[in-house]
Amino acid sequence: MDLKTLTFLVVGATFALYIGIAIWARAGTTKEFYVAGTGVHPVANGMATAADWMSAASFISMAGLIAFMGYDASVYLMGWTGGYVLLALLLAPYLRKFGKFTVSEFIGERYYSRTARLVAVLCLIVASVTYVIGQMKGVGVAFSRFLEVDFHTGVFVGMAIVFVYAVMGGMKGITYTQIAQYCVLIFAYTVPAIFISLNLTGNPIPQLGLGSHMTDGSGLALLDKLDMIVSDLGFAAYTAQKKSTLDMFLLTLSLMIGTAGLPHVIMRFFTVPKVADARSSAGWALVFIAILYTTAPAVGAMARLNLMNTIQTGPVGSADGNLIYADRPEWFKNWETTGLLQFEDKNGDGRIQYYDDKSASFADKAASFGWQGNEMIKVDRDIMVLANPEIANLPNWVIALVAAGGLAAALSTAAGLLLAISTAISHDVIKGMISPDISEAKELLASRLAMAGAIVVAGYLGMNPPGFAAQVVALAFGLAASSIFPALMMGIFNKNMDNIGAIVGMLVGLFSTLIYIFWFKGWFFVPGTEMAANTAENWFMGISPESFGAVGAGLNFLSAYVVSKITPPPPEHIQHLVEDIRVPMGAAKAAADH
């Protein structure tokens, strides 16, 4: 069977599975729609959270990022997993005890303030919409790459699938679909990694393979060999640090507290039956996430090694040390047709030279070899995971599986985000602010309509992504880190935090981060409006805009604390509320009262 038919079959089968689950798990009440009736087993919830969390970016882009950044990419690995420790220890159990449906609802009640709730809703919508654009785009790319259908058709099909199970099943349908999606995506990610690890190091477990010795007879450890190969070509050593220590520290911290503050992640912990389950469920989520996140560094390093070895076939500088362009492997040609891999024979020798032509110390050497610049003029990071099965000569069904895995990652994250957006609209804005006495049936209808609307908007933005789409991810994490996380944490751990303190804190965190990002990236990302070039010399103390969320969070904590000291303490019943959420006892009752 040819690859295209096989891919259609595998992707079609997974889609049929998702729809089947959706029909089985329809939501009948708002409680089922928003929090799956709080009846999801903690392990199942952990798996669904993992699928929710791991997006097209985690599945497709992260290993590529690691392949080219080496050690510096550790910030993403630690940042996007360490946040779950904060969630489990500082937020999830208490918010589950609070027993309501949304993050903004907690902020509104804890700070007895509609303004606070509104600020939270705004942050939530901006953060979620930003994210969902990328997912829809990911769906379109996966379709057009693997099934050779038009990009827009791909987005349409993706929208239709999400529409069926998200609108019908709400959180209930989404949760059970995500469990299936997790299984598809993790299988698709690990199978090629196992084969490649086996191939290079003889160890089938990629996490161990990365720390093993090569089986090519060189006797070198894989990472040492990789360091050697890339350094010989003028690139920075793979395991060496390139970013400043302060920036790495703050970026990791921003990603961690941003993760813990992202509403679509937090709301997953409202779905488990008990407070104790919220704690362990965060652990299960991290287990399932870590399976992919600890495999990714191996995939990245091994893909980089394979790529370098394919091109630099002999000693650097020897006349026949480089691959003859006409002899390039099949996968090389396939990716050239997509434009994601591009070659230009600058010195006209018919061979490929791939080296760092910006390295001053390597320039003389390169000139003495007769090299006239790096000839791999484009190596898109995203192809690393997608091309892996082809590079390792794996059978076609594995390639088909990777397509289904990429789609599963994009769809599961999109559904979770869409739910966060529609819940914010129907529960926080319509029921919470506009018409509080809306009936259950009408609220359910409103949430379905909001979901449908959100899908259309997300699909439209996915097809016509604003130019700044990639940059806004920094904004999403920055907002969650600097405004939502501190407000939630102080609401639980500081009984005396009052409404004015919290609102001032949120606004200080929000605006300091926004202004810092806009300062270097342009106001509202409009090109040409930046106040200073986005380079390390201009940054405040060398802190990049992506890393500023942690500083914003610090300013939030500080200003909220100072203001709360000079304004009246919160009323008695709020202090009781805080005491109440600190103990698990009575969680079932709190939920029933809703």
């Binding site: 690691i66 050690y71 990419a73 550790s74 690995l77 630690m78 997993t81 360490g82 779950y84 420790v85 489990a88 220890l89 500082l90 159990p93 996490q207 161990l208 990365l210 720390g211 093993s212 010795h213 450890a221 894989l222 990472l223 040492d224 395991t239 640090q241 220590t245 790495m248 520290f249 990791t252 911290l253 008990k274 407070v275 104790a276 704690r279 362990s280 965060a282 652990g283 991290l286 287990v287 870590a290 996140y293 600890t294 560094p297 005491e579 600190r582 103990v583 698990p584 006892m585 009575g586 969680a587 079932a588």
Partner: protein
């Protein structure tokens, strides 16, 4: 013990546990993975340099263990101070 003082004792026990876990969280990622990475890289375990291993593997394993450790200890505290749900 009255319910009030019991709840306070439970909360301070919880805070102590959280502080301890966050100390470990900080040490394995920020201290071993970033600040001391060069010093630790002098030590090799198999083909891994230790600092690099903490940054790209070890910290994540320890995060997982940490959450389950916290959840288990809290389950005990919930029972000891009689504040569990059922």
């Amino acid at each position: 013990m009255s319910q009030q003082t019991q709840r306070q004792a439970y909360w301070s026990a919880n805070l102590k546990l959280v502080a301890m876990c966050l100390a470990v969280w900080f040490v394995v990622s920020y201290l071993f993975g970033i600040i001391l990475v060069d010093q630790l890289n002098a030590i090799k375990i198999g083909g891994y340099r230790l600092g690099f291993w903490f940054a790209q593997q070890g910290s994540m394993y320890i995060f997982v263990v940490l959450i389950f450790f916290y959840a288990a200890r809290m389950r005990k505290l919930d029972q000891k101070f009689n504040v569990n749900e059922d």
